[in-house]
């Protein structure tokens, strides 16, 4: 008997159902139940009436936006230098930028925390941002580098031919044409930082609580329903932000690694 080609996808489908769809459904169910399993909206309303939770949420967004902005400011020039054949002649530098990604993020974060302790730097928002940028910068550099590297050189030459100085070529052609890379860089940095908790735990000694932290704390202390509701709200918000940035999906794809 011939096996249909589409049958090969069945194992993946099963995997996806068990490990992606089912957990999501469970989160949704738990979010709308009280401890006894009755339907309720209380978990959701509790979040919106709890100033602590709202504050944490606002702080998380703020940190995520700051982290993303710093990553763009540092990552764009880095990517541009890497993609510029005159400035960067070897592939080694690119590997060096990606190398940190080979080491577990948790280990790097712990090591960074130890470093700060040793240097006597007080842990706080500064160290938190430092850790986040350190962890997520490669995710910003790589998609931007990719679009810049693949960009047809003739665009820059055409602009120069039409009278643009190298700086004008950069602002009027290179930057606009590399926006798809920046967009996917933002997606890859912003979304995970909203939900991170490990970095804030280790690099601020839990002084600063992020949204990810309170979800983790609720679940750890068996507050399944409220934890699920918070996770659910976060999913919705991330989903909305994806829609926002992914409106031009065809161009965004070009930037993804």
């Amino acid at each position: 008997m011939r096996i249909k080609r589409s049958s090969w996808s069945i194992p993946y489908l099963v995997f996806l159902i068990i490990f992606v769809v089912l957990p999501l459904v469970l989160i949704a169910i738990y979010a709308f139940q009280d401890g006894q399993g009755h339907f309720t909206l209380a978990n959701i309303t509790r979040f919106f009436s709890d100033s602590d939770s709202l504050g944490t949420f606002a702080l998380s967004l703020e940190v995520a936006i700051e982290n993303t902005a710093i990553c763009i400011l540092l990552g764009y020039p880095a990517a541009w230098i890497l993609a510029n054949k005159n400035l960067n002649r070897s592939a080694v530098t690119i590997v060096l930028f990606i190398l940190p990604m080979w080491i577990n993020a948790l280990m790097r974060t712990l090591a960074t925390a130890e470093l700060f302790n040793m240097l006597g730097i007080t842990l706080g928002k500064g160290t938190l941002l430092y850790g986040m940028v350190y962890d997520y910068l490669p995710f910003m550099i790589y998609p931007i580098y990719n679009t810049l590297n693949k960009m047809d050189k003739s665009y820059a030459e055409a602009a120069e031919d039409l009278g643009a100085t190298p700086f004008q070529v950069f602002t009027k052609v290179t930057v606009p044409l590399s926006m798809p890379g920046v967009t996917s860089g933002i997606l890859m940095v912003f979304m995970p930082t909203v939900s991170t908790f490990a970095i804030s735990e280790f690099l601020t000694n839990n002084k600063i609580k992020l949204f990810g932290t309170i979800i983790q704390e609720n679940i750890n202390s068996s507050m399944w329903n409220y934890g699920a509701a918070l996770a659910f709200i976060m999913l919705i918000i991330i989903g909305i932000s994806t829609l926002f940035q992914g409106e031009d999906e065809s161009t965004a794809e070009r930037g993804i690694v």
């Binding site: 003739s154 031919d161 009027k172």
Partner: protein, 463 residues
Amino acid sequence: MNKDDIIINIEHLCKAFGEKVVLDDINLYIKNGEFVTLLGPSGCGKTTLLRIIGGFTSPDSGRVTLDGKDLSGMPPYERPLNTVFQRYALFPHLDVYDNIAFGLKLAKVPQKEIDARVRKVLKMVSMSDYEDRNVDSLSGGQQQRVAIARALVNQPRVLLLDEPLSALDHKMRQDMQIELKEMHSKLGITFIYVTHDQEEALTLSDTVVVMNEGKIQQIGTPADIYNEPVNSFVADFIGESNIFNGTMIEDRKVSFIGHEFECVDEGFGENNPVDVVIRPEDVYIMAHTEGAQFTGVVRTCTFKGVHYEMFVDTDCGYELMIQDYNAFEVGSTVGLLIRPSDIQVMRKERTCNTLDGEVVDANHISILDAEFECPVPEGFSAGDAIRVEVPFDQVDLLDHLEEGVTGGNVHFILYKGDHYHLQILTDCGEYLYVDTQDIWDKEDLVGVAIAPSAFKLTKRNED
């Protein structure tokens, strides 16, 4: 010629990419308002020359002047030139209007004037209704028009065009050729056009510059280039041609394909070897043989639309391509005649291979970075610098690289009526010229062997 008429002057321009020499001492002047085409096969250096004029590549030596002013070191954005790029390079993030207005906005031209100039140039390329269109939604031909408009709107002194029509299909290419020609005569600015398409070059240009291997082969009007090619490369590259080895017996008398012909060429000396070019449409073909200079048998006859193309085997065993409005039956004997003015005689660039090397021992010499067997005559000793001459027909080409003493690939093929004249680029980077009856294709890898008796050695002074 009036010196003021010259807009661009190119002097002793040289450029090499690594080991490969791309431009070798190029000298060329371009007159104001002229339509000049740089024509040659891929890799001949024509695009590099255009890029140097545009300022995108800097030459190793030599200079380009515009209106007598040296352009060396001047970046592209300061040059009063604009380029139409091969693949258009329209900015995908801007619409048609903004693409065209790009240069004007940078030059801080007032918005009202930008509007007027963009509209005018759009009208000129018949794209008036496309202002707001996204460039990705345009066809190849439309993108081409926008690219031309984007360059012309800046009113450049010289427009550079880098194979602008190569991405279009045949019919559209012909239409665009006519439009370009009209634009050129209407605007009166200088066009420098790069192409590998000889038909395009002949159709468009006032002056054609034929290039090969980084050197200018010939500069002239399309008619000059076609009717009086200076060497077998130009003759073969421009149009269809029959190229034969011949001997100039005396002034106005040349012998080739086994017969003697009257011709109009002088000054080639007596009994000197020459190349002879006969265009296929210049051979008179008749069903009767009286009054003919020589005869032949029609081997094939193909209808080509306007004319018939026939291959005729001549009485002395040469193959001749003939184009005529009348068809002649395959297998029939025909009379053939060539008028003196239709015979184009060209000096031979070389009559044998001349290679530099040295003596290894009594039985071996080293040339082309390889050791060849050769009985070294008296008077030569090991280590002597020598110059070696090898006749074209004494070089053997072998199917397998390993079988040869050295190897190479077929770089250029010329059919000479009864044999092929090949240019072989050997592994060491030198050229070897070979006459052979065997059929090879361009880029074929071959082994090279030379019979020990073929070498003629002379001493060479080391300096």
